[in-house]
């Protein structure tokens, strides 16, 4: 027995459970009920059965949004699982000035979406910094439509996500790396293992649980991407709205006085079911590894 009184764990977890119920589960339950109605933000709604779900299955925009999410996931998952780990390894070594670099690499994480949007909008538009450089170096004679082509816009948003995520996941990896005993490394070094082998046989197994956690976080946030696409397309989702993400659709339908809360709630629930997939898969992997 880890504790004497049966209620000790509940006492410790109590505050968290209250918050869980009031600020997470209750609004979510609300969403489930709403998804079967045609509710508006003002003035009730009528029970409409599965209408919202039927509508979702014939919604072209939702199909586009799901495709975007999958692409997002496929590109972001490897990039953001690996690059921050490499970055963490780079800044882990105590070189003079290293704390400065660590702090600096973290700045995009702390910047608010508005600042980031402003800057990237400037950099990527037709007369922006990047197109300017491309033209001056002769790599492109006409501006590259980073923000107006369906696929380029998606890639730009992915680049932005990666840029913002580097520092965030780097810190998580740093704290994990710290737990990989230095002695193990040293022992391996003495045994004549090269840097690559040490990485593969000591570092990687040591940070595997963290990698799993990080990839869960990345999968969920890729499927639920919002601000990058929203900001780069100024809320419109590009030509024809083909660069909308599911969360953008939910926002579009739920915001405002005439918000279609019922349909937005149904979309929220579908998104929930979809994100559940990778989560279950990854927790299973985690359990196997452990």
């Amino acid at each position: 027995m880890t504790h004497r009184r049966w209620f000790t764990p509940w006492l410790l977890a109590g505050p968290a459970l209250i918050w869980l119920a009031v600020f997470n589960l209750w609004p979510a339950a609300n969403t489930v009920i709403l998804s079967f109605t045609n509710a508006k933000p003002l003035g009730g709604g009528r029970f409409t059965g599965l209408d919202n779900y039927q509508r979702a299955f014939s919604d072209d925009q939702l199909a586009d949004a799901l495709l975007n999410s999958v692409i997002y996931l496929l590109i972001c998952l490897p990039l953001l699982t690996v690059l921050p780990l490499l970055l963490a390894l780079l800044v882990q070594r105590r070189l003079p000035g290293i704390t400065f670099f660590r702090t600096a690499f973290y700045t995009p994480v702390v910047a608010s979406a508005v600042v980031v949007a402003l800057i990237w909008g400037w950099a990527l538009n037709d007369r922006g910094l990047i197109n300017g450089v491309l033209r001056q170096t002769g790599l492109a004679d006409s501006p590259v439509p980073f923000l107006t082509d369906r696929w380029l816009l998606l890639l730009s948003a992915i680049a932005l996500t990666t840029w913002k995520g580097l520092g965030y996941y780097m810190v998580i990896y740093l704290s994990a790396l710290a737990n990989v005993g230095r002695e193990l490394h040293e022992a391996a070094a003495v045994d004549g293992a090269g840097a690559l082998r040490r990485f593969l046989h000591v570092t990687l197994p040591g940070v595997r649980p963290t990698m799993v956690l990080v990839s869960v976080l990345i999968s969920v946030s890729s499927l639920r991407v919002f601000s990058e696409l929203y900001v780069l397309s100024n809320g419109t989702g590009g030509p024809g709205g083909r660069d909308m993400s599911v969360v953008m659709l939910i926002q579009m339908y739920s915001r405002g006085f005439t918000g279609h809360l019922g349909y937005a709630s149904a979309l929220s629930l579908l998104l929930f079911l979809i994100t559940l997939g990778p989560m279950l898969l990854l927790t299973r992997l985690n359990r196997k590894a452990a």
């Binding site: 880890t2 504790h3 000790t8 764990p9 410790l12 505050p15 968290a16 918050w19 869980l20 009031v22 600020f23 997470n24 589960l25 979510a28 969403t31 970055l87 780079l90 800044v91 882990q92 070189l95 670099f101 702090t103 690499f105 973290y106 700045t107 910047a111 608010s112 508005v114 600042v115 402003l118 800057i119 400037w122 922006g128 840029w163 580097l166 998580i172 740093l174 704290s175 710290a178 737990n179 990989v180 230095r182 002695e183 490394h185 040293e186 070094a189 963290t210 869960v216 969920v220 639920r224 939910i250 926002q251 918000g259 937005a264 709630s265 629930l269 929930f272 994100t275 559940l276 989560m279």
Partner: protein, 290 residues
């Protein structure tokens, strides 16, 4: 825990000292990433220092202001009560940090180290919150806060974020990484839950705690929509909301907006730069734990 002192032996020195070529390569990489990551912010900083006669619109702007001036900052401080807003933001961040540090530590410990009936259910619910549909729930959150009598208060702003489920999960992960032998030994010695949490758990998760402090601070500091909805009295506005007054007065001077965003952004950088020693030390603390 004592074993790590051994890193002063001659054997480990050879492991610790990289070759000059490697050091040079490392710095080169560090500088490259630095340019990618902070370049855009310096650009924004430079815009905020430009005088009214300088062209801030051109595609290839001068990086250094020709006539650097702090007028834009003074103008911002003249226009809105920056200090009041910043103090309000600090209060909100303070409450949120307190709630997260205490609540998530307790709950994380219970979930990781105490065996009790229902632990899997609670853990499952917590995981589910990561993907729970929260997009269409702002209005119902507001109603909850209002029915608690906390509308138009800074406490009301801080409340929903004062105990984040993600942070509970992070603390759980951190406690789970503490070697079980330590717990076992203390348990054999007859230490109760409070003693084990205080003397064995906490010293080993300081890294994760500092991560949570920073993340919570940033989240509270940058949030816009939620404080706007909760607060009515402009005297109680937080900084991000208050800065909108710069944007909302019929005109949009990019220099003033740049100065405003810098005013919101620099405190985060300063807080982070001051805390980073503790932060990264905390992140790395595992190294002395063995």
């Amino acid at each position: 825990m004592r074993r790590s002192r051994g890193s002063n032996t001659p054997r480990s020195r050879s492991f610790n000292t990289p070759s000059p070529a490697e050091t040079a390569l490392r710095y080169l990489l560090l500088l490259f990433v630095l340019l990618l990551v902070v370049g855009p912010f310096l650009w924004q900083l430079s815009t905020s220092l430009k005088g009214p006669t300088e062209d801030v619109w051109s595609a290839t702007p001068h990086f250094l202001p020709d006539h650097p001036t702090v007028d834009n900052y003074l103008k911002v401080a003249d226009t809105i009560p920056v200090w009041t807003y910043a103090a309000n933001s600090l209060v909100v961040a303070g409450i949120a940090i307190f709630g997260n540090v205490v609540g998530c530590t307790l709950a994380g410990y219970a979930l990781a180290k105490l065996r009790f009936r229902g632990v899997r259910l609670v853990f499952g619910l917590l995981l589910a919150t990561l993907v729970l549909p929260g997009e269409a729930t702002v209005v119902s959150q507001y109603v909850t806060v209002r029915s608690l009598g906390l509308a138009d208060t800074l406490t009301g702003v801080a409340l929903p974020g004062a105990l984040s489920m993600l942070n509970v999960l992070l603390m759980r992960t951190a406690f789970a990484a503490v070697p079980p032998e330590l717990e076992q030994a203390a348990l054999v010695d007859g230490a109760n839950v409070r003693q084990r949490l205080w003397h064995i758990g906490l010293p080993n998760v300081r890294g994760m705690l500092s991560v949570i402090v920073i993340f919570t601070f940033i989240g509270a500091w940058d949030d816009f929509l939620w404080p706007l909805i909760v607060l009515n009295d402009p005297q109680k506005y937080t900084l991000t909301v208050g800065l909108q007054y710069l944007n909302g007065t019929f005109s949009a001077n990019p220099r003033l907006i740049a100065a405003g965003t810098m005013i919101a952004f620099l405190p985060i950088v300063v807080v982070f730069a001051v805390c980073q020693r503790f932060f990264f030390k905390g992140v790395e603390e595992g190294a002395v734990k063995g």
